[in-house]
């Protein structure tokens, strides 16, 4: 029999459509503007405090829709978007310093839909406002840092074995040590190569110009770079969490870049200071009078550039060994940071201080910065901007070691309570394994976001309406089939995007609109073919059958090529291009399903195995 589907095909189509409907429904319930309250210590706020916030909001004429507790945080849902900012300020005033108040959009999906774990599409920054940063991780600095640590350990080793060396030098991925004789160099090479297998060793020169050159192997370099990126990702996530932003995104992009998106944040300056801060601490001993100059460095004080001190080049520990840190004031009301070290850090600190009681220990504040200079190419006259990274080191304190230090101690000498608080935050969240630089930044105001959604939706609606009218006018009854398929296509597209957790962006909406225009293509191909077969004198049933069969290869070829382009777009694209590619690819797949299967089912149900006199096409 022509034009009949077996029952299982109808059932399959029905199941797909029902599933599509369920997972697309949550998008009809717009998220509530909300403020999110959590205590700074990570505990749940007491109900009493939340009630105080609620009554304060009501006094200021802000309508509260509901409040609820989830994952140790309180969400207060508001009635209107406009109240969100003032509500945050009021809540922050009421709760004071020991709570974090953040803006949030709370899902409003009804419970029965949540039971299917259905949730709406997440909106991109261009639709909800916020800041977007693109950060470049300085891989050269990551290598240099690692080499410095190795150099320090090697010097330690050589000293303990009483091998005399003259100079250590770090350049690119090589580390070289000068010796006064070939014999010392060969002994050193034997010792060092046993403990540091990651280097390729080479001996250069002889006698007084003996030199041991160690180069990191390719594999080690890529390991160090991966480690640097992953460590930075973790640190940035910690920092962003400390900022109290709801639904932040911190993601690796390409070999050396990191994307940070903070929805709802408008104060970019503060966000950037915390995200981009590269501050760290180093604890070092002051040099003795008889220390050889090859082992010392001179540093000036941060708050008094006239004062300086001669320090050992070797570092006892860095801020990386800090397990927790908080800020407070000392007896004289000056800001201080209380530090707890982890196990290894504590042991190292204890060992270093125990044997050096009476000596001075210095705390160095380190910041990675960069400076841009415009360089004009003398030949072409082209201006390029060169970034010159540099490290700023300044002493924040130099104090006599009174007794052996353990796991916890405090440091003073900071400029202001704000600086102490930020330093504590940075030490808590961990330092960056390699310095980072901002290479791209976008701030989208919340009003622009709302406007984009409104305009996007309007153009989807109008575009859909135009296509529907066109198809009706041209294909009559078959136009109805195509239009039903188009509506189902939109439903499925939204459902798949929600299920995949894809982010909807403005170019994504453009992709949806374009997909709608192109989605009818398959049906147009089929319907034109049916018309043609009718003109060629086939019977109605044969014409329908032949129309679907013969159009099939064209449809598949045409869609596969478009899909190939969409996939390439996705793999090379960033940001807006990616969003567009995602909707386009999903749209191609869903439109093939609806055009080939769903309209066929409708046509079969209407015309299949019945005598039909005239086809309204």
């Amino acid at each position: 029999m022509l034009n009949r589907y077996p029952l299982w095909k109808y059932l399959l189509i029905l199941v797909v459509l029902v599933v599509g409907l369920i997972y697309s429904l949550p998008n009809l319930f717009p998220a509530d503007p909300a403020i999110q309250l959590s205590s700074a210590q990570g505990e749940t706020l007491e109900l009493r405090q939340v009630q105080r916030v609620e009554s304060a909001l009501e006094e200021n004429g802000i309508a509260v829709k509901a409040s609820e507790q989830e994952n140790g945080q309180w969400l207060i849902r508001l009635r209107s978007d406009e109240d969100q900012l003032s509500a945050r300020d009021i809540a922050a005033d009421v709760l004071g310093g020991n709570a974090t108040v953040a803006l949030n959009l709370a899902e409003a999906t009804p419970g029965w839909l949540q039971a299917f774990s259905a949730s709406p599409m997440t909106l991109g920054l261009d639709l909800r406002g916020g800041v977007h940063f693109l950060l470049e991780v300085d891989m050269d600095a990551a290598l240099a840092q690692r080499l410095e640590v190795n150099a320090s350990a090697m010097r330690e080793l050589l000293r303990s074995e009483r091998i005399r060396y003259r100079n250590t030098d770090v350049e690119g991925r090589t580390l070289s040590i000068d010796f006064a004789s070939s014999e010392d160099r060969d002994n050193a090479r034997r010792l060092i190569s046993r403990d540091f297998p990651n280097f390729d060793y080479a001996s250069e020169g002889s006698d007084r110009a003996s030199r041991l050159v160690m180069t990191l192997s390719d594999q080690t370099v890529s390991e160090i770079q991966d480690y640097a990126i992953n460590q930075n990702l973790t640190t940035l996530r910690n920092r962003v969490n400390e900022l109290g932003v709801a639904e932040p995104m911190v993601q690796r992009q390409g070999p050396s870049q990191i994307v940070v998106e903070l929805p709802g944040v408008q104060d970019t300056v503060a966000a950037k200071r915390i995200v981009g801060a590269t501050a760290n601490l180093e604890f070092r001993l002051e040099a003795r009078n008889d220390t050889p100059t090859a082992e010392t460095e001179t540093h000036v004080f941060r708050n008094d550039s006239a004062r300086s001190a001669e320090l050992m080049r070797d570092v006892i520990i860095t801020g990386d060994s800090v397990s927790s840190a908080s800020n407070s004031f000392d007896e004289n009301g000056r800001p201080q940071v209380n530090i707890n070290l982890d196990g290894t850090g504590g042991t190292l600190m204890n060992r270093a201080t125990r044997t050096n009681i009476g000596r001075n220990m210095a705390v160095l504040f380190i910041e990675h910065k960069s400076e841009d200079t415009v360089v004009t190419d003398p030949e072409t006259g082209e201006e390029t901007i060169e970034r010159e990274p540099y490290v700023e080191r300044g002493l924040i304190s130099l104090a006599t070691i009174q007794s052996a230090l353990g796991n916890s101690f405090r440091i003073t000498g900071l400029d202001s309570p704000t600086e102490a608080a930020e330093l504590a935050l940075l030490l808590r969240s961990g330092s960056l394994a390699a310095p980072i630089y901002f290479v791209q930044e976008r701030t989208i105001g919340p009003s622009l976001g709302a406007e984009n959604i409104e305009r996007g939706l309007l153009s989807v609606q109008i575009g859909l309406l135009l296509v529907v009218l066109f198809m009706l006018a041209r294909y009559k009854v078959f136009g109805i089939f195509a239009n039903v398929a188009l509506a189902l296509n939109l439903t499925l597209l939204v459902a798949v995007m929600s299920m995949l957790g894809a982010t909807l962006t403005l170019p994504g909406i453009a992709g949806i609109v374009l997909t709608l225009g192109m989605a009818v293509d398959a049906n147009v191909l089929i319907f034109e073919r049916i018309r043609e077969e009718l003109r060629n004198g086939l019977s109605i049933q044969q014409a329908i059958h032949a129309g679907y069969e013969r159009a099939f290869t064209s449809i598949v070829d045409a869609n596969i090529t478009t899909l190939l382009v969409a996939v390439i777009l996705f793999s090379i694209g960033t940001g807006p291009v990616k969003g567009f590619a995602v909707t386009l690819s999903i749209g191609i797949l869903t439109s093939m399903f609806t055009a080939l299967m769903v309209t066929r089912a409708m046509v079969n149900l209407t015309y299949g195995s019945k005598p039909v006199k005239k086809l309204w096409i």
């Binding site: 470049e136 970019t268 300056v269 841009d372 390029t384 901007i385 970034r387 630089y437 901002f438 290479v439 791209q440 930044e441 976008r442 701030t443 989208i444 105001g445 009003s447 622009l448 406007e451 984009n452 305009r455 996007g456 153009s459 109008i462 575009g463 135009l466 296509v467 066109f470 041209r474 403005l506 170019p507 909406i509 453009a510 609109v513 374009l514 709608l516 225009g517 192109m518 009818v520 147009v524 191909l525 034109e528 043609e532 003109r535 060629n536 032949a546 069969e549 064209s554 045409a558 869609n559 090529t561 478009t562 190939l564 382009v565 390439i568 090379i572 960033t574 291009v577 567009f580 386009l584």
Partner: protein, 308 residues
């Protein structure tokens, strides 16, 4: 010979005229690209862009003057959409704080100024993006060509590739000619045009292949005419619906996707023309013959068996 469609336009007979029109468009496009160059957007050049909203329409000259007096170089100030929205562009890169600086500066004149968006793109990112986009375009064209060569025959692949290059050059050329801003979304639109125009071309090719197999004449121009006429109503219907939607997007979608819609509209217009004229007509100078499709005979047989 039974007519395959009620419409019979002699497309191939007028192919010389079509080639001349295409050649003219290509020359103008390439000329525009060479002499005017593309007005590359922030995404590619790097720099800073600040969009602010004033309470009342401000004087652009005053803003420009204020900016220059405060030491900003290469300032471009223009309204964006409404007269109260002002877009300020600065070529100076790598100063991420400039956004808030500018807003504070504009506020000093006592007017209410709100930041709508601030974008900052490092020059390095722009370069990287330009390289990446060029590479992406090449890869897309290459993969598509391979697919067409595999599904059809290499002469079809050459025809399709030339038609696609034709479309891309003309769209980019028009952007250069009218100095429309070429940013990332426009690049996405061009890739979509490639997909779309290819879609059109494949449908025509599919029909050419089918007609070559089923008809018994060897007159290629006549076969092409039949195939193109048979798909003509489909081509126009699909372009029609897509363009309807794009017009809606252009008029209602807002300023941020205006250029995206323009690029697609031009692209689909040119793509429709090229799938009718260029990709089909190009097979004639490439001397496509029935024998070219013989190696695919085995595939052909299988496909034909499925037909009733």
């Amino acid at each position: 010979m039974k007519p395959l469609s009620h419409l019979q336009i002699d497309f191939m007979g007028r192919r010389k005229l079509a080639f001349i029109v295409s050649a003219l468009m290509l020359i103008v496009s390439i000329g525009a690209l060479a002499f005017q160059q593309l007005n590359l957007g922030l995404d590619f050049t790097g720099g800073t862009l600040i969009e602010v909203r004033y309470g009342a329409a401000p004087s652009l000259d005053a803003i420009r003057q204020l900016m220059v007096e405060s030491g900003f170089r290469d300032v471009s100030v223009q309204t964006f959409g409404a007269s109260t929205e002002v877009l300020i562009r600065l070529q100076q890169a790598f100063d991420p704080d400039v956004g808030s600086d500018v807003v504070n500066l504009l506020r000093t004149s006592g007017e209410s100024v709100n930041l709508v968006r601030a974008e900052f793109v490092g020059a390095q990112v722009g370069d990287q993006l330009r390289d990446q986009s060029g590479l992406g375009l090449m890869v897309a064209l290459g993969v598509v060509m391979l697919y067409v060569a595999f599904r059809f025959q290499y002469k079809f692949a050459i025809g399709a590739l030339l038609a696609l290059l034709h479309d891309v050059i003309i769209v980019v050329g028009i952007f250069a000619l009218f100095q429309l801003e070429f940013d990332l979304t426009v690049l996405a639109a061009i890739l979509a045009v490639i997909g779309y125009s290819l879609n059109d071309t494949i449908v025509v090719y599919d029909r050419i292949r089918e007609t070559i197999r089923t008809s018994h004449i060897d007159n290629m121009p006549q076969i092409f005419n039949e195939a193109i006429n048979a798909t003509l109503s489909r081509t126009l219907a699909t372009s029609g619906t897509t363009m309807l939607v794009l017009v809606a997007l252009l008029l209602l979608g807002g300023d941020m996707i205006e250029n995206f819609a323009i690029a697609l509209l031009i692209g689909i217009g040119v793509g429709t023309f090229s799938s009718i004229y260029i990709s089909g007509a190009l097979l004639l100078p490439l001397k496509l013959s029935r024998e070219d499709l013989i190696p695919t005979r085995k595939v052909v047989d299988e496909e034909e068996e499925e037909l009733p």
